[in-house]
Symmetry: C2
Subunit: 156 residues, 2 copies
DNA sequence: CGTCCTGTAACCAGAATGGTTACAATCAAA
DNA sequence: TTTGATTGTAACCATTCTGGTTACAGGACG
């Protein structure tokens, strides 16, 4: 139903920031873990910043860090921050108002979809970043290891 | 998060079938209400049939009808029938396994997404077609009205 | 038969997705 | 103050997704 991975990537980078909290990480560094382009992450991080979840600092030694403790950031916060479209889309063409069902189905659908999304959001609100992190064991990311894999970013 | 309207359209046509139940409606007729192409609906109706929600009959006087009473068909049935991808997509590129977070984030995400989807599905299971129909008042679709709007399908 | 439907493949245009380059602005440290 | 690292953002592009369209074989019924 969905080919958009913004939510997944957002959780990934929030988990990294939580893992190293309160250290600041650069978009280039996180891009190596996500296996994507730093610009893609900066776009996403911009949404997370607008939602107040992270903060950024430019320049050498800069990067991104969490603005709250991992326990204070839920998946719902993340979901709302990066979501652009409603969960379930409506057709671009409006239904035929000459049909009884067509006339009122859109409003009915909106109500139904809202209820469904509320249930989803309630569940997302129950999980915070600390809980996500608890599923990720082991020592912090070794810079050397990553540098070995990605020659282009060997300075990291 | 989603630009795909399959679920919305599926509910629309199921509501029409429920409205006229146990009458059979053609894809061309329903396409007028949805304002789309009959082939698009037949593709979707095929999924609904594979899920056992509707049945079809070819030929003159044929069309589509519900295989169960509206009270026996929930939005969850419909959701499962027409869903193709997971609710939340994962990135096509796999995360870097050289990073602690990257190594285990995919599995964590799958678990988190499953839980969220379960909550959504539980809510969808609470609404059946009869309840959807109850939000749609008025007399059945007048054939004449639709014929007046759509000259191409004036025989309906 | 003739007509009305379904079932499905094939093709296409427009939109969405995310990867890439480019570059101005900002900050820290030498 | 210069240098280098980093953010912030626009622009562009290839790929994929979405759904609209045509075409046509096959089934059902009078």
């Amino acid at each position: 139903m969905n080919t958009n991975s913004r939510f997944a990537v957002a959780i990934h980078i929030l988990a990294m920031l939580a893992y190293r909290h309160p250290e600041a990480l650069t978009s280039a560094y996180m891009a190596m873990s996500v296996t994507t382009n730093p610009v893609v992450l900066r776009r996403l991080l911009g949404d997370l910043r607008r939602a107040g979840l992270v903060e950024s600092r430019a320049g050498s030694g800069g990067g991104w860090r969490l603005r709250r403790e991992p326990e204070q950031i839920t998946l719902l916060d993340c979901y709302k921050a990066v979501k652009e479209d409603p969960l379930f889309g409506l057709p671009l063409q409006k239904p035929n108002p000459g049909c009884t069902v067509g006339k009122s189905i859109t409003q009915a659908l909106c109500g139904l979809f809202q209820e469904a999304e509320r249930a989803l959001e309630a569940r997302l609100a129950q999980t915070d970043l600390a809980q996500v992190l608890a599923q990720i064991t082991g020592p912090p990311c070794e810079t050397q290891t990553l540098a070995g894999r990605e020659r282009d970013l060997s300075t990291l």
